[in-house]
Structures are given as C-alpha cells and as structure tokens.
C-alpha cells in the first residue's frame, strides 16, 4: 500500500499554516473550522480530547483574523489552533487532569503556558485526554486515547491525547507534560515530535503537578521546527514558578538550520541496546548512520545506567506525587483508578530517608552526565524500548501498578527528567507492522537550540514525519 502524506490543510506542519495565515491565504477562522471538522470526524473514535472548545476557539479565531487584517500580526502562533493537555489550568474552562477528583474543576486563572500561548495569538482548540493525574494509568471515566496508527495499540502517556491529536491533524501542536517520559513516549508511539525542555525553562505555574522537582512542560508537534516555534513563546522565567530560570530564551527558529556537522554524539550500550526490541534497534541504528552522514561523529561514553537513574527518579516522584494528593487520598480514595491509587499509596509508604538518598543520588548522577557531556554535545538513544504495545494489558490501561513495569517503560526517558537535561523524540522509522519508532536526542542544560538544530537536521534527511496515520480518512 502506498504511504499517504500530509497534504490536507489539517495535516500541514504548524509553520506551513502560519505562513498561509501571515500571507492571508488562509484565515484563522477557516483553519479553526477545518480542525473542528476533523475533531468531529475522529474524536469519537480516537478519544483525544476531554473538552473541545468549539465556540470559544472560533471566537478566538475571529479575533485573530481581525487583528491580522488590521496589520497586527503577532508571530507564527497567531491564529493557529493549538491544544493543551487537560492538566493546564484554563480560566473558567473545565480542567480535569483526566481524573474523577477534578471532574468539575474550573480554575480561576490560566496556567502560565496558556497565558503565553494566548499572548502569542494561538487559538485554544481544546483540552486533551491524558492519563489520570499524569500518573501512568487511564481513569475509566475517560478511557484511553487510541493510537491513530493502530487503535489496538497504546498511545501510552501521560500526554496521550496530545500525541493522538497532533498525529491525527486535530490541531497543529499541543503542550504536554513530562515527568518520566510523558511527552516523549506518546510522541514516539504516535509518530510525532515531543520536546522536553530543560527543567526551569518553561514555567510550571498552573500545571497540576505529578512531581514538583521532575515535572517539565513542552511542545508536541509534527515537525522539529514546529516544536521550536511553540517553545519560544512559552519559555522564560516566571515569577510565579520559583524554579523557573532567569536564563535568556534564544530565538530557536533563527538557529534551527545550524545543522549537526561537527557535533559529537555519545552512545552507550545501556542506553542503546539493552532490553531494546529489534524492531526499534534497527531504525535507531540507521538513524545513527544518517547522523554520521550529516557530519556528526559518534563515540562511546560512560553514563550512569538506567538501573541507577530510574530508581532514583521513582523514589523522588512517588512521594512527591503522594504529598500533593494526600488530602484527596484521605478524603476520596475511591475516586482514583486502582493503579493510580496504589502508586499513591506506595508513595505514602516511602521513607523520607529513601527520598533523600534519591536526591543524593540525583546530585551525583547529574554530575556524571555533565562530565560525560564535556566530551560530547549530544546523546542518542531510542525513545522507548519497543514500539507501541497492545492496548490490552498495557501499563496504562491495566490495574498493575508494579514499579518495575513502569521503570522498564521509562528506562531511556526518565533519566532526563531526573537530571533535567533537554531531550527530544523524533520519528526515525517504522516497524514492519507499521508502528512508528522514536529516536531520542539529549543535550546539555539550556542547549535546546543545538538540540533542535540537530533534530531538525536529521528530520530533513528523512520523511518519517510526513507519513499519515491510517486513522485519518482519505
């Protein structure tokens, strides 16, 4: 069967639509109407959205159109339909975090990322489905967001609805959150780009937390350049998030064509081959060859293995999550799904000493990663050990809260939530059964520009990101 390409308006990259809007070939209203039509045709099947903002988004699109026609063009997000994961506070709009606990929650104010998207002129098209409280399991009240490449396969999570929406043309980008891999894993499973910026780069204010010290917010898009276009407006210090950093935000779009020639890439067995399915290993190896052809050099490095980094991450995030949820866990435990409730209960049983040991380990692990990255500019790993797993029995839909199952899934992504280093997942091929495979690139803190340029350079050599999932109607 011939591969289908992204040609329809809904399936264009964000920046292509932005150019059509800037040059007044397409109006924001028309773009929004088309996306709403796509949502109507697909969302019942794919379950990507918890709330669709049809009337509100059309009003925002009309406002954008009026501004643009009056000569007040704000930039590449102006008039572009974007979604956000349903854990970002939206003033007066239901924000459920995929939970029964917050099923009727209507915040008084927008999260900082939402405010910044609005300031950039984006049209908020809806709030996407997600795993309950971004904690690795679907709540039965909402059900899973189905993978548009194969609805019998998982879209993983926790930013599952965002990944499905972007892959299936229901919006031109989305903002997700990532504590163990929740942007990058669903991005890999659904064949899109997912960027987890450096910890502190994007304000966490107004996002419902999993783990204060490991939560990251970032863009999910169809191309790397689109991710750069979305990151710029949402990045930067925010006085309402004390961990957001006072570090200048570069113009990511300006540096996107910097290439990868001369960059040194570090690899190591523990982050490349161990427990990796052959259907993933093969495309990742081919991607390394492509990166070399583009002028990068590849060398072996020594890194703290996932067997050290992932336990440290879990020992931090589990009690942090429980500390946030404790009042609800005491007052309405039956509102949680069984798996999330068990994880929260396990967090309550985690000794303070273990938490502090994990923070001690974190310090050492960060130092060791930084030391290794004195010799190399980037690390490359598969994003996940396998392509999308069957939905039935998947971690996200089962009742099994076993920490070792979660640990295996986040082997390659979790370490960079622990260390806070920026990391991006880009499509790097497909399995024989037609499932996307993700390649992860990792940079030193605050080097998102270089990371994006490297990922963009790779992407330009391939066409994986142009393929259209079968769920999209012909």
């Amino acid at each position: 069967m011939a591969e289908r390409r992204r040609d329809a308006l809904c399936d264009l990259p964000l920046l292509d639509l932005a150019e059509l809007i800037r040059t007044r070939q397409i109006s924001p209203v028309e773009a929004t109407e088309r996306v709403l039509e796509r949502i109507v045709s697909l969302n019942e099947r794919l379950n990507a959205f918890i709330t669709v903002l049809d009337e509100e988004s059309l009003q925002e699109a009309r406002n954008a159109e009026r501004e643009i026609l009056a000569g007040h063009y704000r930039g590449p997000l102006h008039g572009v339909p974007i979604s956000v994961k349903d854990l970002f506070a939206t003033k007066g709009i239901r924000t459920t975090a995929g939970s029964r606990v917050l099923a009727q929650h209507r915040p008084h104010a927008d999260a900082t990322v939402v405010t910044r998207l609005r300031e950039a002129g984006a049209v908020l098209i809806g709030k996407t489905n997600m795993l309950e409280f971004a904690y690795a399991a679907v709540h039965p009240d909402y059900g899973p967001a189905l993978n548009p490449w194969d609805p019998t396969r998982s879209s993983s999570g926790s930013s599952s609805g965002s990944a499905v929406a972007v892959a299936a043309g229901m919006g031109y980008g989305s903002i997700g959150s990532d504590t163990g891999g929740s942007i990058r894993i669903p991005a890999a499973y659904c064949g899109i780009v997912g960027l987890k910026p450096t910890y502190g780069r994007v304000s966490r204010h107004g996002g419902i937390p999993v783990s204060w010290s490991a939560d990251h917010f970032g863009p999910m898009t169809r191309t790397v350049a689109d991710a750069a276009a979305l990151l710029g407006p949402i990045a930067g210090q925010d006085p309402r998030d004390p961990t957001s950093a006072d570090i200048p935000v570069p113009n990511y779009a300006e540096k996107i064509d910097a290439g990868i020639a001369g960059r040194r890439i570090g690899i190591t067995d523990a982050y490349l081959r161990q427990h990796v399915d052959p259907t993933v290993e093969a495309p990742v190896n081919r991607a390394l060859t492509t990166l070399e052809r583009l002028g990068a050099t590849i060398e072996e490095v020594t890194l703290p293995p996932p067997s050290e980094t992932v336990p440290a991450l879990l020992a931090i995030l589990m009690p942090e999550a429980t500390a946030y949820h404790l009042p609800w866990l005491r007052s309405q435990p039956d509102s949680y799904s069984q798996a999330v409730r068990e994880r929260l209960e396990l967090g309550a049983l985690t000794p303070a000493v273990s938490y502090l040991q994990a923070q001690q380990a974190r310090r050492r692990i960060v130092d060791e990663f930084l030391e290794a990255m004195k010799r190399v500019d980037l690390l490359v790993t598969p994003t996940t050990p396998t392509a999308a797993t069957p939905l039935e029995g998947d971690l996200t839909t089962g009742d099994d809260a076993a920490p070792e199952v979660l640990a295996a899934l986040i082997n390659f992504t979790g370490p960079f939530d622990l260390t806070g280093f920026p990391a991006i997942s880009v499509p790097c091929g497909f399995t024989e059964s037609g499932l996307p495979v993700g390649l992860q690139l990792v940079a030193r803190p605050w080097e998102e520009s270089m990371l994006l340029a490297a990922a963009h350079s790779y992407e330009q050599e391939t066409d994986w990101h142009r393929r259209l999932p079968p769920a999209i109607p012909a």
């Binding site: 010290s213 210090q237 006085p239 309402r240 004390p242 961990t243 957001s244 006072d246 703290p304 067997s307 050290e308 336990p311 440290a312 879990l314 020992a315 404790l326 866990l329 005491r330 068990e342 209960e345 396990l346 309550a348 049983l349 985690t350 000794p351 273990s354 502090l356 040991q357 994990a358 923070q359 001690q360 380990a361 974190r362 310090r363 050492r364 692990i365 960060v366 809260a401 076993a402 920490p403 070792e404 640990a407």
Partner: protein
C-alpha cells in the same frame, strides 16, 4: 568508611511485609488503608522496597541532596 564496611551494614528486607504492617505505616501519615486494600498492596510493596534499597548502592551519604531552596526566586515572586 570503606565500601566493604558499608556493604556489611546493609539491612536485609523484612519479610514478610504484612498487610497489618502496611496499614500501620499508612496510618502514620493519616492514610486509612482498609484491610483488603492493604492485602492487595502487599504484592506491590516488595518490589517497591527493593527499588528503594537499590538507593543504598547509588547514594553517597556525604553528598548534598539535589533538592534546594531558591530564596532568590521567592524574592522575585514577592516583588513581582
């Protein structure tokens, strides 16, 4: 303290971790764990504590923990 001395100090996992013990531990943080919940949790707790015990190998007691105060940022928040 040498590595050998540290290894000698390792505390073996208490077996079995009973449902009653878990209920008592949860109660210490004000969490009521019904008997059937505690029983269901027993199977999860063992791997959880095994994971936590792995930290003995990777956490150096003299290392400053990574969690930090950012008082400068709090001042900005107050001013802002």
């Amino acid at each position: 303290m040498s590595e050998t001395e540290r290894e000698g100090e390792q505390i073996p996992l208490i077996r079995p971790l009973s449902a009653d013990l878990l209920r008592a531990m949860a109660a210490m943080v004000g969490l009521e764990l019904p008997a059937e919940r505690a029983a269901a949790l027993v199977t999860q707790v063992e791997p959880h504590f095994a994971l936590l015990h792995a930290l003995d190998e990777i956490a150096h007691p003299s290392t400053e923990p990574a969690a930090e105060f950012h008082l400068d940022a709090w001042r900005s928040a107050f001013d802002g």
